[in-house]
């Protein structure tokens, strides 16, 4: 191999990468926030007394979880204008990512609430607690404990998935890297540095999640640093 790696031109443009990183982080933060709200509302809707609402939520979850994020992004950004809904690329990206993340969080939150044994709620009724008291005092903490690792994994996948919004022309970290690639032709070096930045962000995020988990649930052993690719 005669190729010599040249990282200096990439590091000279490090500020461009950092500008992109800021966009990536803001979009991720906004989508995680919105996606969690969708998940909570969605999980409640899954337990609705109306079968139509449950059916609609079920279809939403299945539809999103069985189609690629990239196709969803393009459908919302390019497809919806045919119906007269023209969206700014940022808005389209945030909507598409939120709709995507929301389907997964809905399933995770629902699973978390279901994981609390029914006897716990029944004990609450027997003690004369009201419905909201039962939820907040008995169900909430063990349910959140169950869903926390899966939510953290899903949010990690989301952060990495935001790299696809570069395809809508949004100046995120990936877009910044491909711009430097065009300027310098140092494709391998640029994408290597970019991947290293993503890995760092993800490790910091997972570390933060582990610390939060320990603070809330006072566990002695740390959360396993593994991604759970849940099949169902």
């Amino acid at each position: 191999m005669t190729y010599t790696f040249r990282f200096a031109p990439v590091f000279n443009r490090f500020d461009q990468l950092m500008d992109g990183l800021v966009v990536t982080l803001w979009v991720s933060l906004a989508v995680i926030f919105l996606g969690l709200i969708v998940g909570i509302v969605g999980a409640l809707a899954m337990r609705s007394r109306f079968s139509l609402v449950r059916g609609l939520m079920q279809s939403y979850v299945e539809l999103i979880r069985n189609t690629p994020l990239l196709a969803q992004l393009f459908f919302i950004y390019f497809g919806l204008p045919s119906l007269g809904i023209k969206l700014d690329s940022f808005v389209a990206a945030v909507i598409a990512l939120t709709v995507n993340l929301g389907a997964y969080t809905t399933e995770i939150v629902r699973g978390g609430i279901d994981s609390v044994p029914a006897g716990q709620a029944e004990a609450g009724i027997a003690l004369g607690l009201r419905r909201l008291q039962i939820f907040f005092l008995i169900i909430l903490k063990p349910a959140v404990k169950t869903m926390f690792p899966a939510l953290a994994s899903q949010c990690t996948l989301l952060i990495l998935g935001t790299s696809l919004i570069s395809q809508l022309g949004i100046p995120d970290l990936f877009r910044a890297a491909s711009q430097i690639d065009l300027d310098t032709y140092l494709s391998f070096e640029v994408y290597l540095v970019m991947c290293a930045i993503y890995v760092t962000v993800v490790l910091l995020f997972r570390g933060a999640c582990a610390v939060i988990y320990r603070l809330i649930f006072a566990e002695r052993e740390p959360t396993p640093l593994t991604l759970i690719v849940s099949p169902s």
Binding site: M1, Y3, E62, L63, R65, N66, T67, P68, L69, L70, A71, Q72, F74, F75, F78, G79, L80, P81, S82, L83, T156, L160, G161, S163, L164, Q167, F174, A177, S187, F188, Y191, L192, M194, C195, Y198, V199, V201, V202, L203, R206, L225, T226, L227, V229, S230, P231, S232
Partner: protein, 216 residues
């Protein structure tokens, strides 16, 4: 040049679908083979090897697939292997998949109750036989549902290869929609095709999991 949406366009999408299926199958096969290697390294008797496998898994799980595919594409070229886009994508997806599959399988091995190890030791089985006759069959059953579930993830992720120059379903969707300007209908059809591929697998994985839970 734009033209109205015609039957021909649907055929183009179906050809893309075929490539998506082929790419998924090749990437899954590659992921399984590489995943087994990584799993073996992770369960190695040498701490350094285990550590390397651990780092490999966590670095890859923190890398965006799009970045990994481009690194493969350009990296292979740098090392003198000028391969077609789909070859680079298959290798990239296999490396990506191996990090997740080995993690899933490691979890499956751990999920075998500790008493099984102890019982097989009490029976005087050697460590190799213990693993092969007692642990592996049980871990295998446990690992099937999440492995099928991961196949769905991998199948969906092949769409990312369209960005690195592989002409599969997502790339054909871009081609057809920009030549007909029928973005809504084309992307709706494409999402439908992906759904038809993924949903049966999701359903199957879920059914396996339920029957596994019942069996326990």
């Amino acid at each position: 040049m734009t033209h109205p949406l015609a039957f021909h366009d649907f055929v183009v999408l179906l050809v893309g679908l075929e490539w998506t299926i082929l790419l998924s199958a090749a990437a899954f096969l590659g992921s399984v083979i590489l995943g087994l290697v990584v799993l073996a390294l992770r369960r190695s008797r040498y701490a350094v090897v285990r550590m390397l496998a651990f780092v490999f898994i966590h670095v890859l799980q923190g890398t965006p697939l799009l970045g990994l595919l481009l690194l493969m594409f350009f990296g292979l070229a740098l090392f003198g292997y000028d391969v077609a886009a789909w070859v680079a994508a298959t290798i990239g997806l296999s490396v990506y998949g191996s990090a997740f599959l080995s993690d899933i399988w490691d979890g499956a091995v751990r999920a075998v109750p500790k008493g099984q190890w102890e019982a097989s030791r009490a029976l005087g089985l050697s460590s190799g036989l213990r693993f092969r006759l007692v642990i592996l069959p049980q871990a295998f059953t446990i690992s099937i549902p999440p492995t099928v579930g991961f196949l769905v993830q991998l199948l969906k992720n092949t769409s990312v290869a369209s960005i690195t120059g592989v002409v599969e379903l997502s790339r054909d969707a871009q081609i057809v929609s920009s030549s007909t300007f029928e973005f809504f209908r084309v992307y709706a059809a494409v999402c439908g095709l992906y759904f038809l591929l993924c949903y049966p697998l999701t359903w199957y994985s879920r059914r396996l999991e339920t029957s596994l839970k019942k069996a326990r």
